[in-house]
């Protein structure tokens, strides 16, 4: 069961290097057939959902999400948003990420049963300290194990 006391929990700042090889790997994994555009550039721009690779960097106490205590077997990713304050970061950019649990709330499900939502916001700063991107993840825990037709 999600713990409402988790709101406000902050993760330790973490480093995320936007790497050319990672951008290329991510392009292949997300259906890019023609990689010549990436290969022609020393510093290709990262993809709209690339910052999800923070999962590789946000180890230990950098990730406050476990504080929410969402049941993994009844938990689902409900929404995900990325906002860029300018062009998305290019390969070679060194970012500092800071994540926090910003909200936990409940709603009645369409088919009965209470659903608990939890929101984690991660801000990304470049080396000059400018906020360049923000990721917002919303997870949901259903009252009973989800089935295909109500995911």
């Amino acid at each position: 069961m999600a713990d409402p006391a988790a709101v406000g929990t902050e993760g330790a700042p973490f480093r995320l290097d936007v790497e050319r090889g990672k951008i290329r790997e991510f392009a292949r994994a997300t259906g890019t057939a023609d990689l010549t555009g990436i290969d022609a550039q020393d510093a290709p721009v990262s993809q709209p959902t690339f910052l999800t690779t923070a999962l590789h960097w946000q180890t230990g106490d950098a990730n406050p999400w476990p504080a929410v205590k969402l049941d993994q077997q009844r938990g689902l990713h409900a929404e995900q948003e990325f906002t860029f304050f300018g062009a998305p970061p290019r390969a070679g950019t060194r970012l500092e990420g800071r994540a926090r649990i910003s909200d936990i709330y409940t709603k009645q499900g369409r088919r009965g049963g209470e659903m608990t939502f939890a929101v984690m916001v991660t801000d990304y700063y470049d080396e000059s300290g400018r906020l360049v991107a923000q990721a917002k993840m919303t997870g949901v825990e259903t009252a009973r194990p989800p089935k295909e037709d109500e995911a």
Binding site: R28, Q47, P48, T49, R74, H77, P145
Partner: protein, 147 residues
């Protein structure tokens, strides 16, 4: 088409043709998991998925969201995206065939004077069910997309 370019009003953006991917495989899901760092076993471990009440492992939602990202940026340019919001609606299973489509919601001039476009993207399964929807905002370079 060249006549339209001589006017001061930019030509309306036209969405690309639908893009079909698949049938998608567990290998596609695992490749995405490795790339993203999301190693949740529900997406590759049969026993874990069954214990959670599912018939089989299913795709990470961010995989099909990433497909929509690829589809959108090949149209409007990866450097031009300013927001990308995804809603997860239905699971995607091995063997599914996915189709990405896009619609222009609004074309306008932002406060900074640059042209913007809001688009809606849908990743649809072969059943007709929408697996993922996304709403994105892109800067439109001078002369429109693709130029």
């Amino acid at each position: 088409m060249s006549a339209a370019r001589t006017t001061s009003t930019p030509a309306a953006l036209t969405p690309p043709a639908p893009w079909t991917v698949g049938p998608v495989t567990r290998t596609d899901f695992v490749r995405y998991q490795g790339a993203s760092g999301d190693m949740n076993p529900i997406h590759h471990d049969e026993e874990f998925a069954r214990a959670a009440g599912f018939d089989a492992p299913f795709a990470v939602g961010m995989y099909q969201a990433g497909l929509l990202g690829t589809y959108a940026t090949e149209w409007l340019g990866a450097e031009n995206v300013r927001s990308f919001r995804i809603r997860f609606l239905e699971q995607v299973w091995p063997g599914d065939t996915l189709t990405a489509t896009a619609e222009v919601v609004r074309e306008y001039t932002a406060d900074d004077g640059a042209a913007r476009v809001d688009i809606e993207l849908v990743c649809t399964r072969q059943t007709g069910g929408a697996a993922v929807k996304a709403w994105a905002t892109f800067v439109v370079p001078d002369g429109g997309a693709g130029s």
